[in-house]
């Protein structure tokens, strides 16, 4: 199983901005965590270290125990699948099928196996009937799902999804939540980067908060979104999810999700 480890990672961009400042993070194999932070907090910079697109100025990144410095991006891409935020920076296939098959075919997967993966993934992501469609003719939601499908098709042990829910409608967000849960159940390691607090609270157990290149909070959603942590969150330019705010207003303790509120209210009603 693949474990991701960062030890005292620093990174400064050529123009001098210091993006990561002594980051220590361990993502055990098969676990899922959400990486949150305001614009410029270093979320995307950290993600690019996981598959070798960026190399640390100092410190060490290890995937599956092997130092990432010893492997090329293409080699790392076999264990860490990184899905970028903007579909139009990636999509170039003439049809949905070509686009999803690009990753696996490049890894040497036979065309039948690749097509098998495409069909399975497409139906799971609601792209079942679009295999022959031109990517431009899909709406924003399905183009986003297409970029996610094209990374999932490589079946890497670790998945990093950069802002998977931006620009999606309600049904799209539900599909992403569903997929992440399925991946975790299948024993994959999932790192979701997002500023959509509701999605983070509903989908991930563990939340890591980045502020100006440093990890300021790391814990379960209950711990991180509890009222006493709000100053730290707001200091990092973030707002707690609405459910947490409503739960606190009703004096229910830390309720990061709506389900938590319903649960707390049910138990409170039962106690009376």
């Amino acid at each position: 199983m693949t474990e991701v480890r960062l030890e005292a990672v620093d990174f400064t961009y050529p123009d001098g901005t210091r993006a990561l400042d002594g980051v220590d993070l361990v993502v055990p194999a098969g676990s899922a965590l959400a990486l949150v932070g305001a614009n410029g907090s270093g979320k995307t910079t950290l993600a690019r270290h996981l598959n070798g697109l960026l190399r640390p100025s100092s410190g060490r990144v290890a995937v599956d125990g092997i130092d990432a410095a010893e492997r090329t991006v293409a080699q790392l891409a076999r264990s860490v699948g990184l899905c970028f935020q903007r579909p139009d920076r990636q999509i170039f296939g003439r049809t949905v099928r070509d686009e999803i098959e690009f990753g696996p075919r490049h890894q040497g997967v036979s065309s039948e196996d690749a097509f098998g993966r495409v069909k399975a993934l497409a139906s799971r992501l609601g792209l079942g009937e679009d295999l022959g469609a031109h990517p431009d003719d899909l709406g924003d939601t399905r183009r986003k799902l297409l970029t996610i499908a094209s990374v999932l098709a490589m079946e890497t042990p670790v998945f990093v999804l950069d802002e998977p829910t931006t620009g999606l409608d309600a049904r799209g967000v539900d599909r992403i939540e569903h997929i992440v849960r399925e991946l975790v159940e299948a024993g994959r390691t999932v790192i979701g980067i997002s500023h959509d607090m509701r999605f983070v609270a509903e989908t991930f157990e563990r939340v890591v908060v980045l502020d100006r290149g440093r990890i300021v909070l790391d814990g379960t959603t209950e711990e991180v979104f509890a009222e006493d942590r709000w100053p730290a969150l707001r200091g990092a330019g973030l707002e707690p999810p609405e459910a947490a705010v409503i739960g606190t207003r009703l004096g229910l303790g830390s309720t990061p999700t709506e389900a938590a509120i319903v649960g707390a209210l049910t138990s409170r009603a039962a106690r009376r």
């Binding site: 170039f92 003439r94 031109h134 431009d136 003719d137």
Partner: protein, 357 residues
């Protein structure tokens, strides 16, 4: 259609008249004197031809819609992207790959195909001017501007070929038409090889064809060019055979024709102004010719007649791929987009309400 032929015929006639008169008056057709004056004549003859075209259209319709129609907002927004493409790819190929192709007219041909001959010509012209004066380092190139004239001609030809439907995908063509298409393709390739051989033989006065193996730089270069040419040839054959797409034949024909015309215009400019040197891979070819005894003008023409057709075939092929990757809806919104759609699709897009001026 007769009205259009009158305009085009008039324009070409005036162009030819001025070009021949200019060359005759300024030094005859032999290469030595005509060299310096060639650019000047072209700079006068081409605009005169276009102006005549416009005057005839104005006389016929009191408007010049066929020209202004090519410059709607969408084309004006596309042109900077095309200009940047010419410059970024042209700089990359010239500096990185050191192969005797230029790859600096993708944007020109793309705009010509989507918007029309004049839009393509203006794009090519501005690309070369901006490449010299406004391009930020490392993209600047001091000698791009004199070749603006070549880019204008490439744009005019590409736009006309596209208007004739030469860049239209023609999948699953019938057997008979594939045979004809195959013949055209082989004919185009033979023409290219014969020109290259003739220029080569004339320069190397009969010495062996293959580059001398001891000249390693030239040997590696040879292989690089072969790979690019083979890559395009394989791509075109795949189009012709596997997808039964007759477009391959049209791409080859368009590439060779544009390449030859471009070579004849570019060679005198390159020879006269810079001693035939462009800083790109083409210099190796010229060096080889010069060492084999050809004078400067012959060497440069020989090199151009090899490089330009190859460069243009590859460029047309890449533009064909780009157009293929674009959604039908996007293409249909451009002034000449409908001529790029397969025959069955282009009919029902006709009701695109022409945007108000």
């Amino acid at each position: 259609m007769s009205a259009t032929w009158l305009r085009v015929g008039g324009g070409l006639a005036v162009f030819a008249l001025i070009a021949l008169a200019g060359l005759a008056a300024l030094g005859g057709l032999e290469f030595d004197e005509a060299l310096d004056t060639f650019t000047l004549v072209m700079v006068v003859a081409i605009p005169a031809g276009i102006a005549t075209y416009a005057l005839i259209e104005y006389a016929q319709t009191r408007r010049i819609d066929s020209i202004t129609g090519q410059f709607d907002t969408r084309t004006l927004v596309l042109m900077p992207v095309a200009i940047a493409l010419n410059i970024v790819l042209g700089t990359a190929v010239a500096s990185a790959l050191k192969i005797p192709i230029y790859f600096d007219s993708i944007g020109t041909i793309l705009v010509a195909a989507l918007a029309g001959p004049l839009a393509g010509a203006v794009t090519g012209f501005l690309a070369n001017v901006i490449w010299t004066y406004l391009a930020p380092p490392p993209f600047g190139s001091p000698f791009a501007v004199p070749f603006a004239v070549v880019a204008v001609v490439v744009g005019l030809m590409a736009g006309t070929f596209a208007r004739w439907g030469w860049l239209r995908p023609r999948p699953d063509s019938s057997g008979r038409r594939l045979l004809v298409g195959g013949a055209i393709s082989i004919g185009a390739v033979v023409v290219m090889v014969v020109i290259a051989l003739r220029a080569w033989l004339a320069a190397a006065d009969g010495s062996s064809l293959a580059p001398k193996s001891d000249d390693t730089a030239f040997f590696i270069l040879g292989w690089l060019v072969v790979l690019l040419v083979v890559g395009t040839a394989v791509g075109l054959v795949v189009l012709l055979v596997r997808r039964r797409d007759l477009a391959a034949a049209y791409i080859l024909a368009a590439g060779v024709l544009t390449g030859i015309v471009a070579a004849f215009i570019a060679a005198p400019i390159a020879a006269g102004l810079f001693g035939g040197v462009t800083g790109s891979g083409a210099d190796f070819v010229i060096a080889a010719f010069r060492r084999a005894g050809a004078d400067l003008e012959q060497a440069v023409l020989g090199q151009s007649l090899i490089s330009d057709p190859v460069d243009k075939v590859i460029t047309y092929f890449v533009v064909y791929l780009i157009l293929g990757a674009m959604a039908t809806r996007t293409k249909a919104r451009f002034p000449q987009g409908r001529y790029l759609l397969p025959l069955n699709e282009s009919e029902d897009v006709r009701d695109r309400a022409a945007p108000e001026r």
